[in-house]
């Protein structure tokens, strides 16, 4: 597959010259005017400035009058799609699909129903049957978006503002699943290939979980930390209403704990003070959870590279563009770093090359010995192959903004390669770090300052599991101390985790419950193909959830 050089089509579209040409022209492209998107920005900005009387966007302000576009402002191909867009279309703020991607995660909390059901039956003497569960689901789907269920004379929320909010359930018990009203059920048998479905059902067992999608506007008005609170409040109100509970008896305290807190699964943990955010914010999202949230393995179970690349793209948006680029930094620079791994089929080419190498040398995926020798071999080959492509095709080198992108793409290919070879994410990330120092010695350069720190000492903690020293890669996240400062890494680590499990054909990475929660066809963001969604967002064809039209003047 890699013999085709997957990136060639994109390079030919991006540049006039042949990808192998060593010379080009600069300073002749008329600056920002060469870009349709920048022209649109200027048109809008002029209109806005006139209306409000305060000047705004003006690309002539760049570099004291030297506007962007001294070199060709090239388009970007979203990898694995036929879609070309401008770089601007990939900034998180400009791309509605990217926003939906994060909104879908932040607004989700999973809450087990077994504990409250047990308490209802044993402590409060209520009968819980499939019929009562279906009744409860009707009520909670009224309550969660902002409907009142217990008190008289309550204010409520306009349904048009919260149409994205609902509750569904799933279980590993086919018999119970059959009795749940289909409109409330995430059907494991329907959403997953047979082998994956069987594994998931076995892991989940008879337990019944509800997936609550709190209104997007709530997360945006407050933060991810409020999601479980909103969910808890409306779940308990729905339970009180559905099961006719007395509001205030002592047993209700126990019930409230069981219903609201005992079996809550947040999507992300809270972050420490210097990067403080509540739960369900991107800094606390473990790589393994993101690998479970992405659903590519349902659609392409035999293609671990595809699974990895889709996870990696989602991770780059969430960790690099959103967490580091907006939450932790602000501005526009991070997009250039993050997009390299999901544009122009470059990482695709490098990953499929190394996957072929692994297949040929080790007889398949996850079959190589889990040894340092395997890591040294695979990561070295991936790194040298990638470096050689950059050097043989000068346009390929040029399409990246700079060395940090090159470093992350090469290290990602090496990490994915080592993961796929061994079926072990720890081995994968160790391959990443070898790639970094090989790259450094080869080119005499690597990434920006941060790469000196994270990528020089990363090898030393890559196999460390003990508390305060490390964690399994699946449970690390952007908030892992060594990873907390560097763009161009965390998304890739999520891809390395996904690669290891996809190579082993696992049905999930770290949490089967999270995997099933996002196998939900009601979600507008198709988690089986994040890159396709990003492309739709770039083309302005993605219709997101959440809006305010119902309560603002017609426009």
């Amino acid at each position: 597959m890699a013999e085709k050089k997957l990136f060639i089509d994109a390079l030919k579209k991006k540049f006039k010259e042949e990808p192998t040409d060593k010379q080009t022209k600069f300073y002749i492209y008329d600056g920002w005017k060469q870009s349709a998107r920048k022209r649109e920005f200027v048109e809008w900005a002029q209109k806005i400035s006139k209306e409000r009387g305060v000047p705004g966007y003006n690309p002539e302000m760049h570099l004291g009058g030297i506007p962007v576009g001294q070199r060709v402002l090239m388009p970007y191909k979203i990898s694995s799609t036929d879609v070309y867009c401008e770089g601007d279309d990939l900034h998180y703020i400009n791309n509605a699909a990217m926003q939906q991607m994060w909104d879908d995660i932040r607004r989700t909390v999973i809450v087990g129903l077994d504990a409250p059901h047990a308490l209802l039956e044993k402590r409060l003497g209520k009968e819980v049957t499939p019929e009562t569960i279906n009744q409860y689901l009707e009520v909670v789907n009224h309550a969660l978006p902002g409907g009142a269920v217990v008190q008289e004379h309550m204010v409520e929320i306009h349904p048009a503002l919260v149409s994205d909010s609902y509750v569904k359930v799933f279980t590993g018990n086919d018999e119970l699943a059959d009795q749940i009203d289909k409109k409330f059920l995430i059907d494991i048998n329907k959403q997953f290939p047979k082998e994956q479905a069987e594994a998931l059902k076995k892991a989940i067992g008879k337990a019944l979980y509800q997936v609550t999608r709190v209104p997007i506007i709530v997360g945006r008005a407050a933060d991810g930390g409020t999601i479980s609170r909103w969910s808890a409040m409306q779940i308990s109100m729905a339970m009180i209403s559905s099961y006719k509970l007395m509001a205030g008896e002592a047993a209700i305290a126990e019930f409230a704990y069981a219903a609201k807190h005992a079996e809550v699964i947040q999507m992300a943990t809270l972050t420490p003070w210097r990067r403080a955010r509540g739960p369900n914010e991107p800094g606390g999202l473990p790589f393994g959870y993101l690998a479970d949230i992405v659903q590519t393995s349902r659609k392409y179970p035999d293609d671990p590279v595809r699974v990895s690349l889709e996870t990696l793209a989602a991770g780059s948006v969430i960790f690099d563009q959103l967490w580091f680029g907006i939450y932790m930094s602000g501005g526009v620079g991070f997009t250039q770093y993050a997009t390299a791994v999901y544009t122009d089929d470059i990482l695709d080419d490098f990953c499929y090359y190394i996957a072929d190498y692994v297949k040929k040398k080790y007889g398949g995926f996850a079959k190589a010995p889990r040894t340092m020798d395997t890591i040294l071999d695979v990561a070295t080959e991936a790194t040298l192959y990638g470096l050689e492509q950059y050097e043989r095709f000068p346009a390929l080198m040029e399409t990246h903004f700079g060395g940090s992108q090159r470093a992350s793409v090469l290290a990602a290919a090496s990490g994915v390669g080592a993961s796929i070879a061994t079926g072990d994410a720890q081995a994968g990330v160790n391959g990443w770090y070898l790639s970094m120092i090989l790259h450094k010695e080869h080119m005499g350069r690597l990434g920006f300052y941060g790469y000196d720190q994270q990528d020089q000492l990363g090898a030393t903690n890559s196999f460390a599991y003990r508390s305060d020293e490390g964690l399994p890669m699946e449970l690390r996240g952007a908030n892992y101390p060594n990873y907390a400062m560097n763009v161009g890494h965390s998304g890739e680590y999520a891809g390395i985790v996904a690669a290891a499990h996809a190579a082993c054909k696992h049905a999930w990475c770290v949490n089967p419950i999270v995997k099933v929660a996002f196998a939900d066809p009601t979600l507008k963001f198709d988690w089986t193909e994040p890159r396709k969604m990003i492309a739709k967002g770039a083309l302005r064809e993605f219709m997101p959830d959440g809006e305010r039209d119902a309560v603002i003047p017609p426009h």
Partner: protein
């Protein structure tokens, strides 16, 4: 200058590799190796390029001369002879280079290693597309002159850029010049020389600064410290590859199986 240079001693830079690229790295790092002078740039022109002061202007200071300062008793102060700039209380200023991937003599890491091996009182930075070097101002001017006049500079493939450094990984233009969004330099087709018309942060120069003719690529290939598949490939330098792998293995094992690392 002698007060700023590290004296060559019994320790020599130990860098692995059996190729010309590895040899060049060892050579440039070695303070005992005299860098070949390829061009002359006047002291005033170096000052103009740097843009920190006007030629002839007195150095600004951030503290009184050390002699007047009355330093506290300190064994480190007694051990380390201050550089002239430190003695005078100069500001710390910078020069920053962008080195093209296309066979520039130096690459950022080699620049930093070289600075540490050759000069005293330096604070180099290392990024992919730029390499800042910070020193006391009068020391910096001397070092900058050496870095611009000798074989570690090429007018087309090395840029003096304080800001907006983008260009190291872009193809060269029709004159073989590296891209510079600020167009600090031009190629004079009549003389074949590169001429700086702006200082390193892009302030126009009243008097342009000529930095000489670019070297032919074949020459650069002999001088470069950059491995490339169309030059010297890393695959052809097993000593370097094996050394990197060994470093990686040691770092990895040291993290969780120290006893194994110690036996390697």
């Amino acid at each position: 200058m002698s007060e700023i240079k590290v004296k060559a001693g019994k320790y020599k830079p130990a860098y692995p590799g059996q190729t010309i690229v590895a040899e060049n790295r060892r050579k440039y790092l070695d303070p005992g190796y005299q860098l070949k002078k390829l061009r002359s740039i006047s002291d005033e022109d170096v000052v103009r390029l740097l843009g920190h002061r006007v030629p002839g202007e007195a150095y600004k200071s951030v503290h009184p001369p050390l002699e007047e300062l009355g330093e506290p008793a300190c064994p480190i102060r007694e051990l380390v002879e201050p550089t002239p700039g430190a003695k005078a209380g100069d500001r710390i200023r910078y020069i920053q280079f962008t080195d093209s991937v296309y066979f520039a003599p130096l690459a950022p890491y080699v620049r930093s290693w070289m600075a540490f091996w050759r000069y005293r009182g330096v604070d180099p930075g290392t990024l992919s597309g730029r390499a800042p070097l910070e020193m006391r101002e009068r020391d910096l001017e001397l070092v900058a002159k050496e870095l611009l006049e000798t074989e570690v500079f090429d007018p087309a493939r090395v840029g003096v850029r304080g800001a907006t450094v983008h260009g190291h990984s872009l193809r060269l233009d029709e004159n073989g010049m590296m891209f510079d969004a600020l167009r600090r330099y031009t190629f004079d087709k009549n003389t074949g020389e590169v001429v700086y018309v702006k200082d390193q942060v892009g302030v126009p120069l009243e008097t342009p600064v000529r930095v000489g003719k670019p070297l032919p690529e074949e020459e650069l290939k002999k001088m470069t410290t950059i491995y490339r598949v169309d030059g010297v490939s890393t695959r052809n330098d097993p000593e370097l590859l094996n050394w990197v792998k060994r470093i990686h293995l040691l770092r990895t094992l040291a993290g969780f199986r120290l006893e194994k690392a110690e036996k390697l």
